[in-house]
Amino acid sequence: MDGTLQQLAVGFGHVFEPVNLMFLVIGIVLGLLVAVLPGLTLVMGVVLALPFTYNMHVIPAIILLTAMYVSGTYAGAWTSILFRVPGEPIDVPLLWDGYPMARKGDAAQALGWTLVSALAGGLVAATVMVLLAKPVAKIALTFSTPEYFAILFFGLASVVSLGGASLANSLISLFAGLLIATVGVDDTYGAHRFTFGVPLLSDGIDYLVVMVGAYGLGEVFLRLEQGFKSAPLEAVKEIKTRLPSLSEIWSRKMTFVRGSLAGIIIGLVPGAGATVASFLSYGIESQYGKRRKEMGTGIAEGIIAPQTAATASVGGAIIPLVTMGIPGSGATAIILGAFLLHGLQPGPQVFATSSNIIYAMFASVFVGIIIMCVIGYFATKYMVKVLEFPEVIVSAYVVMCCILGAFAARNNLTDVWLLVIFGVIGYLFERFRFPVTPLVLGVILGPLAESAFMTTMISFGNDWTIFFSRPISGTLMAVAIFTLIYPVIRHMRHQRKTLKSSK
């Protein structure tokens, strides 16, 4: 224990060396930038940064990439909340409550909550990472494909039943999303599905065009119909940027705890990263949270749950990387690449052979989170003012961002057309009271769920009961199925009651 803290102190010593601190700040800023741009995902950003670390020393290289990873889970929330354009798939759950909150004139508070959540989730996970790395790492090994599938199934199920929309409409929307996700070359057998001989379609439909189109463009189309307000949200001017008070935070402590735990555990398992953590945590909150009925209407809990989980997943994902050499997420897989390229092999032996590098990495997570939040705090002040702009101009800016994002993903104009198509679909969905969320959810989580399902079927001789007979997956599946059935039961009970009373 003393040894751990001592080594952590040495790690902090490394991080505070001027050169390393500079790379940390660069990493944070790059991560924020990557997260804000919808066309560049966090993993892609870290991949793009990797070549620059070839000629660097190993410690600054690891610090740079770790810092990017940390801040990449945070800044996408800004665009989610302000423009309804998620900068990362991680941030989709953040717009469900964040954007309504901003529309109510509480953008500053929404951003404040994101900041506090990222800070809390990040620091809790980092502490677990340092103190409990070895015992906790074992959890990662107990999860296999049935558990991955159960986690994803729970994520899909819990969000479908959310909010005021009818269950039937939600399901239709979800299955449309799942269907869109099947387009392209299938991951397991390499079969071409719905490609119609079009080369681009065999590449699949990027979740990005669906996500950005249905939310970002869809919202702009909707406002176009309603007529833009020249000076929207008068209330914004009166509100000062403020962080939530301690008592406000304390009254939501369980949400923070649940979010952090979900983030750490999802971060640990190799099959899922920050995105799944964020979706799952929102799902958990909408099942067990104190204010579960109000989720989706713009309450703080809906921001805390996904954001704490997303940032907490960073600490979680680093644990199996350093203790076993298994990356817990896409970004840590790249960081593993950086380790290998510097001739360093993470695994049980690494604490003995290169503990200074590992502890420098640990320390950079702590320092990174704090610097990120400081930058975030000052950036927030100015960002909220964006809402004082005439809506027309903000919308034009949103459209530009969406188009650039769609094009940058694969350098292909067809994606821009797809974006427009999904924008129209998103608009029509909103217009005819079909929820957009399950559609996007299906597109993002569908392929992950499919591959987990297929691998399980192959691994267990097509025995579907395996999902229910393993303890972890069984529990998750049971909860998910109850979540799906409960609204139907409630509806039937309600009908019986009204029948009785009418008699």
């Binding site: 070549p51 897989a333 961002c401 650039l404």
Partner: protein
Amino acid sequence: MITRLLNSKSIAVQLLALLAAGGATATATAQEKYPSRPIEFVVPWGPGGGADQLARKIAPGLEKELKVSLPVINVAGATGQTGLTKMLTSPADGYSISVLIADTLALQIDPATKWKITDIVPAAVMIQQPSAFFVAENSPLKTWKDVEAEAKKRPLKVGVTGFGSADDLHVLYFNGKGLQLTSVPFPKPSERYTAILGGHADLLYEQLGDVKSFLDGKQMRPIVIFAETRFPAFGNVPVSHELGHKIAISQFRAIVMKSGSDAARVKAVSDALARVAATDDYKAWLKDQYADEKSFVGADGAVAFMKQELDIMRQYAPKK
């Protein structure tokens, strides 16, 4: 202030988009100096795997040789076909290159495979490595005999990269010998290694060099190496030939381009690769990866090499 903020942000956005658009579909003429813009380097496997390590190892050297940047992009799925498809859907102008590994080439055995070997033109074979079956360090299966005995009682799960891959062919070969082995595809290396370490699979098919950290960390060990003679670093591990299984598909990784690319451009890439492969740094890396020190085959020999490998694979593949 705000306007400035917005402007600087949107400029940053545009710059990034321009950077990203570097690999876009500009029409290239034969006279144009090649390469004059970044070359997209597709890795059809997840980050951290052998194909990825190769690309990340040689990309900086290639950048120095070709004097343009080579952003590495990981596009995993379908035994490398998702990434290969990405490369094949780009124009044949030499601005998109891809890693091709034996696993993906093995898919050619199935006539239903959408792409043909004639769709690609190899620039060079960069690395050839022996493969092995591994078990977790604490596995009850201690020797190859244990595996044979157990596989007659119950089906053993083998973690492989994907169906139809060289990994899968080894499994099919042993199926033909009466052993119950089941291929379970895990395209992401992290999931494949978790499967074996967590006891979710009984065996793992992998190249020695790819699991070096797990071997050094005493987390897993090879139980049989697929080769003709014993490998110096693992003198006490039997090889397939001495056990009477004459199967040893070399696990190679090559750099390929889309066929129809200008021959001079293929040569430019091939020559650059040859110079990278000749460096001491690369040779040391090969040794570190437990690879054949004479791994490199240039563009001239690579086509013949790949055809020959494919013939060997066909020989082991199940007859349909």
